[in-house]
C-alpha cells in the first residue's frame, strides 16, 4: 500500500517539509486524542479541592489514588461491570445463534417467502432507531400475546439485540459466497442442514463471525438510552447508565475516576482486536 502513488508526487517530495508535516500531524493527533484521555486519568487522581480550584492544574500536585477505590465502591462499579458483561455476552450468544441460523436459512435453505422476510428485515435499517424507542419500550413492558413484562430482566437487552438487520445482511452475503457444490456433496454424504451449517459453513465464515461478534459486544457496551430505560433498577444497570444515574451525587474527581475506570475495558479490548475492528468497519459497511 505504501508504494502506491497518492496526491503528492513522491519524486518531488521535499524531505524536510515532509518531516515537518509528519511531526506536526503526529503531535496534533496525540494532543487531540490522547490529551483528553490524559486529563481523564489525571483528573481522577486529583484531590477534591484541587479538582475544583481556579486556575486548574494540568497535572495532579497531590496524587490521591484513593479516588479510584472510592469510585469503585461508591458507584459499585464491580457490579455494573458484571451486569454489562452479562448483557454483552448474552446478546452475543443470542445474535450468533439466531442471526446465523436465520441468515443461513435465507441464503442456503431458501424457504418460501424468504425474500419477502429478508426485505422486511432490511427495511428496518431505514427506520431511525430513536423514533422506535417509545413503542419498543412499551412493547417490553407488555410483550404481545404472552403478556410478559421484560423490564429489569436481561431479556430486554438480549432479544431486541437479535433484531439487527445489519448482522443478517453481512452474514447472508457471506454465506451466499459459500459454493453450493460443497453443500450438495455434504448432503450426499448424509449431512442434514444443521450438520452442514456447523461443520462446513461456519468454519469457512470465521472472519465474518468475528466482525459480527465484535460489533455485538461493542454495541451493548456503548449503548446508553436503551439500557437506561430497560433496566431502571440500580442493581441491574449497565456501566453507562449506572454512572450517569449516580453522576449527580458524587464529587467531580470521583466521577472522573469512575469514567476512567469504565473506559479501561473498551480500550484494552480495542488494543487487542484493533486490526479486526478496523478492517471489519470498512469491510462491513461500504463494499458492494
Amino acid at each position: 500500500m505504501s508504494d502506491t502513488r497518492t496526491l503528492v508526487n513522491p519524486a518531488q517530495l521535499n524531505r524536510t517539509l515532509y518531516r515537518a508535516t509528519l511531526i506536526l500531524v503526529v503531535a496534533a493527533f496525540t494532543l487531540a486524542f490522547l490529551g483528553p484521555l490524559y486529563l481523564l486519568v489525571t483528573g481522577g487522581l486529583k484531590g477534591t479541592t484541587e479538582s475544583i480550584q481556579t486556575p486548574p492544574t494540568f497535572y495532579p500536585h497531590h496524587i490521591e489514588a484513593s479516588n479510584y477505590s472510592d469510585a469503585w465502591t461508591r458507584l459499585n462499579i464491580a457490579h455494573l461491570l458484571l451486569n454489562t458483561l452479562w448483557y454483552a455476552f448474552g446478546a452475543l450468544a443470542f445474535q450468533l445463534v439466531l442471526d446465523v441460523a436465520a441468515a443461513y436459512s435465507l441464503s442456503k435453505l431458501r424457504p418460501a417467502l424468504g425474500n419477502a422476510i429478508l426485505g422486511l428485515m432490511l427495511a428496518t435499517l431505514m427506520i431511525p432507531a430513536m423514533v422506535l424507542v417509545v413503542p419498543q419500550y412499551l412493547t417490553v413492558l407488555d410483550l404481545p400475546l404472552i403478556h410478559q413484562n421484560l423490564l429489569n430482566s436481561p431479556w430486554a437487552i438480549w432479544l431486541p439485540s437479535v433484531a439487527n438487520a445489519f448482522n443478517i445482511y453481512l452474514l447472508k452475503r457471506f454465506f451466499d459466497s459459500v459454493p453450493q457444490e460443497l453443500l450438495d456433496s455434504a448432503a450426499i454424504d448424509g449431512a442434514g442442514p444443521l450438520r452442514t451449517l456447523l461443520s462446513i459453513v461456519l468454519p469457512m465464515s470465521r472472519p465474518i463471525i468475528g466482525v459480527v461478534s465484535i460489533f455485538a459486544l461493542v454495541n451493548v457496551w456503548k449503548d446508553f438510552l436503551w439500557p437506561l430505560l430497560a433496566e431502571p433498577d440500580p442493581t441491574r444497570q449497565t456501566l453507562n447508565a449506572g454512572i450517569y444515574s449516580l453522576s449527580l451525587g458524587v464529587p467531580e474527581n470521583v466521577l472522573i475516576a469512575a469514567s476512567a475506570i469504565s473506559a479501561v475495558p473498551t480500550v484494552v479490548f480495542f488494543l487487542i482486536f484493533q486490526r479486526n475492528i478496523m478492517s471489519g468497519l470498512t469491510a462491513g459497511s461500504l463494499k458492494g
Binding site: 503528492v8 484521555l37 436459512s105 431505514m126 453507562n240
Partner: protein, 313 residues
C-alpha cells in the same frame, strides 16, 4: 434413466402420484426446516422492530388515559406543534446537524487525505483517531463536561495561557451547541475517517500522474481526482450522517444536565420525544413527534436517492 422411463410407461399414474406426493413431502419438510432456522430471528424482528413500527403509527393518532385508549385523530399533532419548545427544538436540531456536518463531515475527510499522504506512523494515527469511538459515550461526555467547565476546566485555562478569549461553553446559550458538536465530533469522527481512508487507498495512482502531467496543482488534483473518485462514499456518508445527527440525544442529554441547556439552547427533537414519553407519559405526543421526525428523515433519503440517480446518468 432408460429403465425408469420404461417402467413408468407400464404403470404411469400411480408412480407419478407417488412421486408428486414425495416431492410435496420433501418440499414441505425443506420449508419446515428452513423456517425452523428462521423463526427465532423473525420473532425478535416481529416483537422489537415490526410491531413497534406499526404501533408508532397507530399511537400517533391515539390518546391513552387511565388505561383506555381512544382515537383522537390529529389532536396529538396539533398539541406538539403548539408546544412552545417545538420550533426551537427543530431549530436546535438543524443547528446541530449543520455544525456537525461542518465539523463531522469535512474534518474526517481532510484528516483521511492527510493520513493517506504520510508514509510513517500510520498505524499509530489510525489507532488514535478510532480510540474515542470505542470509549463508552458516558465516559467521554462526563470528561468533556469537566473539560468545558468555565471555572476549573482545562479548556478555558489553556485558552487563558494562550491569551485567547474564554467562554462559558455549555453554560452559555450561544456556545452550548458548538461545544456539544465538538465533543460529538471527537467521539465519532474515527469511523468516517477510516472509511474515507479505505476509499482513498482505492484511487489508482495513474489518475494523479495524469492530472500532474496536465499541470494540475495540489488543490486542483484534490478537486478533480480525489473528490470525484470518492464521490459515492462521500455522498453515502453525508446521507448517513444527516440521518444520525438529526437523532442526536445522548450528547446534549449528558453534557447539559438532561438535555435542555441554558434557556433550552440544546433541546433537540429526540429530547422532546423523550420528555413527552418518559417525563409526562404522553405516549401519543411522543409517537406523533417521532413519526414527524421519521417523515423528515425519509424526505432526506428520497432527495438523496434522486440526486444520486441524476449524478449517475
Amino acid at each position: 434413466m432408460a429403465v425408469a422411463t420404461a417402467s413408468s410407461g407400464t404403470d404411469a399414474p400411480p408412480a407419478r402420484a407417488a412421486d408428486r406426493a414425495g416431492a410435496l413431502r420433501r418440499s414441505v419438510q425443506r420449508n419446515l426446516t428452513a423456517h425452523g432456522f428462521l423463526i427465532g430471528a423473525v420473532l425478535c424482528f416481529a416483537c422489537f422492530q415490526w410491531y413497534p413500527m406499526v404501533r408508532e403509527v397507530i399511537m400517533s393518532f391515539q390518546k391513552a388515559k387511565a388505561g383506555r385508549t381512544t382515537w383522537v385523530g390529529l389532536h396529538n399533532l396539533d398539541q406538539i406543534v403548539h408546544d412552545p419548545s417545538f420550533w426551537p427544538a427543530w431549530r436546535n436540531t438543524a443547528e446541530f446537524t449543520g455544525l456537525a456536518l461542518l465539523f463531522g463531515f469535512a474534518l474526517p475527510f481532510v484528516t483521511a487525505v492527510v493520513m493517506n499522504e504520510l508514509r510513517h506512523a500510520r498505524g499509530y494515527l489510525r489507532i488514535l483517531v478510532y480510540l474515542p469511538v470505542m470509549l463508552p459515550p458516558v465516559s467521554s461526555l462526563l470528561l468533556f463536561k469537566y473539560l468545558y467547565n468555565p471555572e476549573y476546566g482545562p479548556i478555558n485555562r489553556s485558552l487563558q495561557l494562550l491569551h485567547l478569549p474564554t467562554s462559558g461553553w455549555l453554560q452559555s446559550p450561544d456556545m452550548a451547541m458548538l461545544a456539544v458538536v465538538v465533543a460529538s465530533t471527537w467521539m465519532n469522527m474515527g469511523s468516517a475517517t477510516l472509511i474515507y481512508l479505505a476509499a482513498l487507498q482505492n484511487i489508482p495512482g495513474e489518475l494523479y500522474e495524469a492530472a500532474e502531467l496536465d499541470g494540475a496543482g495540489l488543490l486542483r488534483r484534490v478537486w478533480h481526482v480525489t473528490i470525484p473518485q470518492t464521490r459515492l462514499v462521500l455522498s453515502l456518508m453525508l446521507m448517513l450522517q444527516i440521518v444520525a445527527t438529526m437523532q442526536v440525544f445522548v450528547e446534549p442529554f449528558i453534557l447539559t444536565n438532561g438535555g435542555q441547556g441554558v434557556e433550552g439552547s440544546t433541546t433537540t427533537v429526540v429530547y422532546l420525544i423523550y420528555q413527552y414519553a418518559f417525563n409526562f407519559s404522553n405516549y401519543g405526543a411522543a409517537c406523533a413527534l417521532g413519526l414527524l421526525l421519521l417523515l423528515v428523515l425519509a424526505g432526506f433519503s428520497v432527495i438523496y436517492v434522486r440526486l444520486n440517480r441524476r449524478l449517475e446518468s
